[in-house]
Amino acid sequence: MLAYAVKRIGLGILILVLVMVAMYAAVFLVPGDPATVALGPRATPELKRLLIERMGLDQPVWWQIVEFFRNALTGNLGYDVWSNRPVSTLVLEALPNTLILSLTALSVALLLGVPLGCLSVMRRGTAADAVIGVLSVGVIAVPSFVVAIYSLLVFAVTLRWLPAIGAGEAGDFISQAKALVMPAAAIALGWIGYIARMVRASMMEVMGEPHIRTARSFGLPEWKIVSKYALRIAIIPTISLVAVGLGSILSSAVFVEAVFARPGIGKLITDAVNTRNYPVVMGTVLIMTAIYVSITIAADLLIARLDPRVRDVFRG
């Protein structure tokens, strides 16, 4: 198990390096001079040269990458070219908002999606199953920015129940929670349906396995069979799905943060790309990739924890 974890972490670091190499290659390959794009056609050559130097773009690409990782290892992710603030500070300021948003959305999706999937299986073939099925497919089909815009119109503009923009007053929990409702719902809605479908599908498969018949032959109540005997096996594909889907949850956070003008990583990246603020883009991408890779590793380790057969494969 330990060897497996070490191997996965090593692989994760390799992925980080490859992503950053790709990022630098992209900047190098994109046609046009980033300084001209950022400063406009009428900037003086001195100003352009100054900007290029500050972003380190006058160095060879491989040297830029080496420098980036050397600095990153000491916790230095470079400096914002416009405000001169450390990128690590910017990311650390924005990260909690995005993490709270993504984790709230994910928790809501799991807390509603898994029981709905189980209910579908327990009531299979009935009206409840059909309603859950139709609703699930419906919410999967609606993009999160559509939910975001319509919920803004209904709950913020018309009903005035919830704030339209921002992340709430600092230190005021109620205000922060209210500001979280719509963005989280916008991201979670589709995932509720997705998880419910996934849980139902894998649960139906597990419910047909002989060991479920054994549990039934001992007269175990159906809810216990579903929640203990079937769910522990059926949840495994859902965990993988959620771990992979976290990338898409984080990217919907980018849109949703833009719609609700909510400070966060998404807004940080969009603003940085628009102003060609390369150090901020690179630093943020590194942190997001690191988060994504760690979640995938954590999910694999969780699966190994849940399924003793997987555990033994890695032990042996």
Binding site: P210, T214, R216, S217, F218, D307, P308, D312
Partner: protein, 321 residues
């Protein structure tokens, strides 16, 4: 509590999109406490449907007619909840394949504790103590450690022992073993038969053993029912059936038992022909198309169950007492 079991005129059909499959037709069997009953027949003869019906585990598309009286209660008429309360309490099933019978992600001990859930009077520690004792009784050494094991860490024979222990833990009045040795190799099979023989000495309830293996039935059972195409074609004491079979199908089945041949054969003997289509069961005798003694009435008139001796019955026009 132990009581008698009697299925009378029991029929089961499965509703499928291609029409109904009449898997079990007009079956009469009875069993009394202390008896070991064998049910034998080739694949598809309805023996699994019969025991599934006895264990109240038929799938949702099954329709059941007739009655299954156990302790004076008709199991076929009970609602799902009352049926569930009987399963794992009065009725226990040892299922066919020990490799897949247990949940792969829960420990043996955890599952066997759950299987005793009808025993509200026992605490978790007491249940675990009962498990350890029962595992010892079915011949599993190091029971405490085995309870911590996951099913895939146990061999097939060991898992079948655990399955038998699980059934015995519930102290059932009716113990059904569906092909208990089919998935095992010959050595394991012998060990499990030995175990079942030991157990029947101090067990007072009814044991029903399903098998297509004639040797298993002969070794373990007091009485045997022979099934063909969803019907019981002959039933009686094991000796009477194995040495004085009257139904042509039983005779053909015994003649084909590989255990009877000691010299090397190029081809194993078989019964010519194949099973009738159970979506449209024949109006006459189900065995008539394959029977070498079939005559005029066999194709059109279904033979009644003829009583030949005190407990010997056969369903054949050609057989007379």
């Amino acid at each position: 509590m132990t009581g008698s079991l009697a299925a009378s005129d029991l029929s089961v059909r499965y509703e499928t999109p291609h029409g109904a499959v009449y898997a079990l037709r007009h079956v009469d069997i009875e069993a009394h406490p202390g008896e070991v009953i064998g049910i034998v027949g080739e694949s598809g003869c309805g023996k699994s449907t019969l025991v599934t019906a006895l264990a109240n585990l038929l799938p949702a598309n099954a329709r059941i007619d007739g009655s299954i009286r156990y302790n004076g209660v008709d199991l076929a008429k009970l609602d799902a909840h009352r049926q569930r309360l009987l399963r794992g309490d009065e009725i226990a099933l040892v299922s066919q394949d020990p490799m897949t019978a247990f949940n792969p992600v829960l420990t043996i001990g955890d599952q066997l504790v759950d299987f005793q859930h009808h025993r509200k009077d026992l605490g978790r520690a007491q249940k675990r103590a009962r498990i350890a004792a029962m595992l010892g009784r079915v011949g599993i050494a190091d029971a405490e450690r085995r309870m911590q094991s996951y099913p895939h860490e146990l061999s097939g024979g060991m898992r079948q022992r655990v399955a038998i222990a699980a059934a015995l833990l519930t102290d059932p009045g009716l113990l059904i073993a569906d092909e208990p040795t089919t998935a095992l190799d010959v050595t394991m099979e012998a060990q499990i038969i030995h175990l079942l023989r030991e157990l029947r000495r101090d067990y007072n309830g009814i044991i029903i053993i399903v098998s297509h293996h004639l040797g298993v039935i002969a070794e373990l059972c007091d009485r045997v029912y022979v099934m063909y195409a969803g019907e019981v074609v002959e039933g009686g004491e094991v000796d009477a059936i194995f040495h004085g079979a009257r139904h042509p199908y039983t005779q053909a089945l015994l003649a084909c038992d590989p255990a009877r041949f000691h010299e090397r054969l190029d081809r194993l003997p078989t019964i010519p022909g194949s099973l009738p289509n159970l979506t449209q069961p024949p109006s006459g005798c189900v065995y008539a198309p394959r029977c070498d003694r079939a005559f005029a009435p066999c194709a059109t008139i279904a033979p009644p169950l003829m009583k030949l001796a005190a407990s010997h019955v056969a369903r054949c026009h050609a057989v007379t007492p």
